[in-house]
Point group: C2
Chain length 351, copies 2
């Protein structure tokens, strides 16, 4: 796979007849067709992409995972990515978290009148880049336009589908006391990257969003460890705290986290300290939590360390018999505190 | 199936802890859970609805159709329906137009901060009503909230999937000269219903949107006529004019419409005359066009006449050898005029 900048250079914008998106581009008429035919279809082309039909024809034989997400992140371009990449990776990862192999995505745009075509093109190129990296095809789509002031530049829905991995048996019911909890990489990076560019909150940093596809990693783990992998879950909105609280509550089991083991990049840690934020509550877009049998935990981490997007993988905690429905974390003094479910919004429109 | 008002009465809103949607309801934290657990999951429940996972697990064996649509209609409640029904019916119909049996839908909300919970509940009930009527299950979803002034009450994405009908061979390549074109019901009703309530354009009318699910009709036609049905297409945005132009251009064939045969309700016709609109360009949400072998055309119409939602079905035109890529319509004098592809927007945010 080429790097992102090179990839983008190789997808120059075609010559459009218009500079901005207008309501007519969402009309279903000639201007909708012009928009799609003038580059969108060519850019995203594959043999299944439904050009002139109401849907795409796919074929499956067996169980599949099906997942949807809408993306409303603000700003639409942020350090390390943009809403296009996020929309592909987010849904790819949700399908992967089910123990499945994401294959196909639908793509629904809600554009705000006045969006510069050049900006729309950049996002389309990001979508293509992310889809190629993840190995998924965009097979059907929809474009709506809302009047200026009734949207915010661009919202994207992606819905993904793909067959369940043959060796997967991912189920929250499979978690048992003693299972090790692995974070696939350093946490809180996406949340802090977005925060760093929000109006009024800017500070000097080179923190980049971790947005990336996780499906190749989860497939490799399933190939190797099969049913020993009990659960995957990606801690996006609400962060690690929300994800682990949901799991511990649903199973009424305790989760004990080792504070010192949780990977957080130094500059993310520093930013959290300045802002008074807890990295456990910040959003991630390129990290998953794996609940695995204790006997494969070290090997899982070892395998993850071989890939740049999971270079900082670590065992961060254990499922325990007591503390029913609670997430606890050890502190530096050897005591523990409860990690509560986040109530409201640490940071709105993070994805 | 109960009627809509009765159905709605039987789904009273639960007691919510809050009156309006706030940004925190899209946070992924406790308030997101409260919103979902306080009624949404219960209302839409089915054995596949993914409550606590990143996606739903489905199973298919063979070809499936997959289609997505975002809905941004304004106003969100209109004569004859609301955005919730439209979002279910729209995607159900797109899957049906592929010759498939819609089975499952995903549901993605983009809510604007400040949306009254009571309004959200009403739309959820409409979604349930429409899903039950169509016989589809909502199996996975997502809720995002954007700040006030960055959205418009509620946008909905639905993505649908279902197996292709065993007797279906729907393909634009199957159309041939001599095929009859059938409109399943009176056209232009949805467009004019929306127009009738748009600000500044209100006029006295009892015209109601035709939004309804078409999948039972198309399945019955396929059961009976199989490969004699060459193409289904629903003329939504851009109306009959856009749909037929796309088809005639793609196949480089002529389409000849019989003006006198096109079913339009009298009050819709009157409204179009007052407003200077051509019904051929107005949106439909409960009408499909079927291209069928001439030998089954009359029987198709006969069958459609047995159902209230297609009581006005009619043969409206024929595919012809000449007039490559053009749609023509006969006028009352016996001459013909060209029906052009709509250029821009007759009416924005119609669906």
């Amino acid at each position: 796979m080429k790097n992102k900048s090179l990839f983008k250079l190789q997808c120059p914008a075609p010559k459009f007849d218009f500079d901005i998106i207008t309501l007519a581009h969402g009309s279903g008429g000639l201007l909708t067709n012009k928009l799609l035919e003038s580059g969108v279809f060519d850019l995203l082309k594959n043999e299944k992409l439904d050009k002139h039909h109401d849907g795409a024809m796919l074929e499956f034989n067996g169980p599949v995972a099906f997942s949807t997400d809408s993306f409303v992140v603000s700003p639409i371009v942020f350090p390390g990515g943009d809403i296009g990449e996020l929309a592909v990776n987010g849904t790819v990862n949700d399908v992967a978290m089910c123990g499945a192999i994401p294959q196909y995505l639908s793509l629904g745009f809600i554009l705000e009148e006045g969006l510069p075509i050049s900006q729309f093109w950049d996002i389309l190129v990001s979508i293509k880049y992310a889809a190629e990296k993840a190995g998924v095809q965009i097979v059907t789509g929809d474009t709506k336009v809302v009047d200026k002031g009734k949207g915010d530049k661009i919202f994207i829905n992606t819905t993904g589908i793909g067959p369940v991995h043959l060796k997967a048996n991912i189920d929250i019911a499979n978690i048992k006391a003693g299972d090790k909890i692995i974070a696939s990489n350093s946490i809180a990076t996406h949340g802090i990257a977005i925060l760093s560019v929000r109006e009024g909150l800017e500070f000097e940093t080179s923190i980049e969003s971790d947005t990336c596809n996780l499906n190749h990693l989860t497939a490799e783990l399933l190939d190797k460890f099969g049913e020993k992998i009990h659960l995957f879950r990606d801690p996006t909105r609400g962060g690690v705290a929300a994800t682990l609280n949901e799991i511990s509550k649903e199973r009424n089991m305790g989760i004990l986290l080792n504070n010192g083991a949780i990977p957080v990049e130094n500059q993310v840690k520093a930013a959290c300290e300045i802002l008074g934020l807890d990295p456990l509550y910040a959003a991630n877009e390129g990290v998953f939590m794996a609940f695995v049998s204790a006997d494969v935990a070290d090997k899982t981490v070892e395998m993850l360390h071989r890939h740049p997007e999971s270079a900082n993988a670590a065992i961060i905690g254990t499922v325990v018999d007591g503390h029913h429905g609670k997430v606890l974390i050890t502190n530096q003094m050897g005591g523990t505190r409860v990690v509560h479910m986040p109530v409201g919004e640490q940071l709105p429109r993070i994805c």
